[in-house]
Subunit: 212 residues, 4 copies
Amino acid sequence: MTKISVSKKPRGGIYSKGQSRVSSIITAAENILIEEGYHNFSLRKVAAAAGIKLGNLQYYFPTKDELVKTMLNQVIEVYLENFEMLRASAGENPKEQFRIILKHIINDLNSKKTTVFFPEIWSLSNHEEHVTQYMDAMYGRYRAILEEIITLINPSLSTDQVKRVALFISASMEGHTIFIGHKKPWQKETDNIVDMATQSFLWLIEQGNVPD
Amino acid sequence: MTKISVSKKPRGGIYSKGQSRVSSIITAAENILIEEGYHNFSLRKVAAAAGIKLGNLQYYFPTKDELVKTMLNQVIEVYLENFEMLRASAGENPKEQFRIILKHIINDLNSKKTTVFFPEIWSLSNHEEHVTQYMDAMYGRYRAILEEIITLINPSLSTDQVKRVALFISASMEGHTIFIGHKKPWQKETDNIVDMATQSFLWLIEQGNVPD
Amino acid sequence: MTKISVSKKPRGGIYSKGQSRVSSIITAAENILIEEGYHNFSLRKVAAAAGIKLGNLQYYFPTKDELVKTMLNQVIEVYLENFEMLRASAGENPKEQFRIILKHIINDLNSKKTTVFFPEIWSLSNHEEHVTQYMDAMYGRYRAILEEIITLINPSLSTDQVKRVALFISASMEGHTIFIGHKKPWQKETDNIVDMATQSFLWLIEQGNVPD
Amino acid sequence: MTKISVSKKPRGGIYSKGQSRVSSIITAAENILIEEGYHNFSLRKVAAAAGIKLGNLQYYFPTKDELVKTMLNQVIEVYLENFEMLRASAGENPKEQFRIILKHIINDLNSKKTTVFFPEIWSLSNHEEHVTQYMDAMYGRYRAILEEIITLINPSLSTDQVKRVALFISASMEGHTIFIGHKKPWQKETDNIVDMATQSFLWLIEQGNVPD
DNA sequence: AATGAATGAGCGTTCATTCAT
DNA sequence: TATGAATGAACGCTCATTCAT
């Protein structure tokens, strides 16, 4: 469960003003990415959104790549932290935990940030090596949690079987982003999707006939 | 099942020269999109890849939008035509048809074109209105086929239930693009994914407990 | 009173279809110039306005210059022909003729065509040699008519005095284009301008104290 | 007598380098406009004339419109300031003031800048809304000065009569630009034009028979 | 820490022109 | 006659980046 860190850390860590600058820049960058898409993402727009001049933005993030990396890392980190917190607070009954987590994941797809950010990451990961690494690491940690719960639900599954079914489940859920996400045509079906997902995935886990 | 057509057709009707130019431009555009991603997609690159000058490309496609629309429409059309042909030749046993179609869809994710194109479309659809329309229409036709087969497998499902389960299945399968697609880390799991998908989706259809 | 002619005549003189093509092109060109100004005047726009393809337009007018020359010549010619017809039908009393002609000239400034065309010609004449020639020839013929009438009104003026006062009068009237022309703020003052012009110019002619 | 100001100011406030850059760009722009005409006016040419790169020019003037507006505003401003200074130093005798001012205005038409700039403005004002505004405001201030003097010469004229005769006089004088301006065929007649203008306009004012 | 200034490259687009059909 | 096809140049503009202040 390796944590990915940005090679050259943004400056201004000590001073609280600089610190807040960095985070306000990241926030601005996230907004631009969400509103305009990566193909319209520019440092000038981020600077304007952050209320600073281009030159100053580039004092904190010398290159565009630096900023994008930091931003993606941040988004992913926050996303996973929330997810891990959720798992920690999900109670003791494994099947109940599973239900809660599925529900949370699927409901989260409705948020604008998730709806827009993830397709950008998927698209970028096909063209930018370092994004691929972030993404794979993210889904690794993500699946790790599913794997834990799956093992609790059906301890007779082998490690490989668990990994396989976790992969199947996580992949299947990601796919709903483009159908029930923010402003997507099937958003109102979210609860029904949760229902069908819980049923069929639990059946797959419990029934145990997973390829080995 | 409306077929979407491009409003302002590209030139090149009378002479065969123009006809082939148009298709070679589209091919070049697809390649650039696949190799570089939409954020690096430029008319100059497409023209170079097509072996013509920029000015000539813009004789056939007066605006970038025109070209992108035509290209997306083409890719989607070919994709759906293949899919519809497959369904037509899939034999008589509904469950067998379902198996074959799932297998085809999931195997298709391995191709570079599918792996790269679809995330670009998903991403673009969040920022460009007309891409949203293309995409929604495409998935509409795509699900229509699934709905037919689902009805054959379990005729006791209501229309709404059929639509719901078709949505769930198609969405779930799309999600695998980013895990088992071309050069993705779990490509070797493709067959196992087909197996798990077939099992769990068939169970969901047959067991009949779909939200209504 | 030299008549300016286009060096290379447009083709299609014999065939009536070709003939009308030329004139419909000229009409289209005039409209584009009026609506868009010379800085937005292009062969493509003219072709579109004429309802033909660019290639065909350039069959009749091989270069942009050719078209512009022909168009300007045409506009000027029609303008002068109207003016000369007016003078021919203006009655016998010289002062009355003068009044009628002033009134006609000034009223003509209200028309969109005159309001827009002439400033374009003035502007172009500062940068394009051949336009200067057209323009000077036009104003020469224009003043010739004024000179005739001025001589009739006050035969005691020398030739130079007549030329001088005709120059002063014609120049003064041209200036009103930008104030009382089509959509100009003082359009409603047109009649009052006619009144003041007639009074002061007649006084200048009759009183006879013109520099010699 | 509203002073028109440019909405989005060009950069270059703090450092003197930027300040002088702005004015050298404006000068370059004026020269290009004068030498080439607006239909040949391009940012690349202006940048080259200013001895800077295109990108740098656009750092100071983000859009072409911005530059053109600023340039026109500047030219007009300087023109009016000179005119107002002249009026302030024109002595006490109203008729003498009038003579001096007419002489100045008409002589100014001989300068290349005036000869070329004004027809460009007239032409542009027919196609670009904001140029119309600049131009109208300019002539408003211009006539205001004439109106003052006219009132002094003949106090019995009503406000409307004064405005009317000022309009007539200023319009008439503008018209001479295209005949006695820089390199125009009648440049040598300048003094005679001054003479005729002074006589006839003074007569019109003093005689008092202005439409009301 | 922040802004000003400048560059060079690339973008989508428009255009006059030439030549083949 | 008329259109199709293609080119090369220029346009206004956006951008990431560098460096001075």
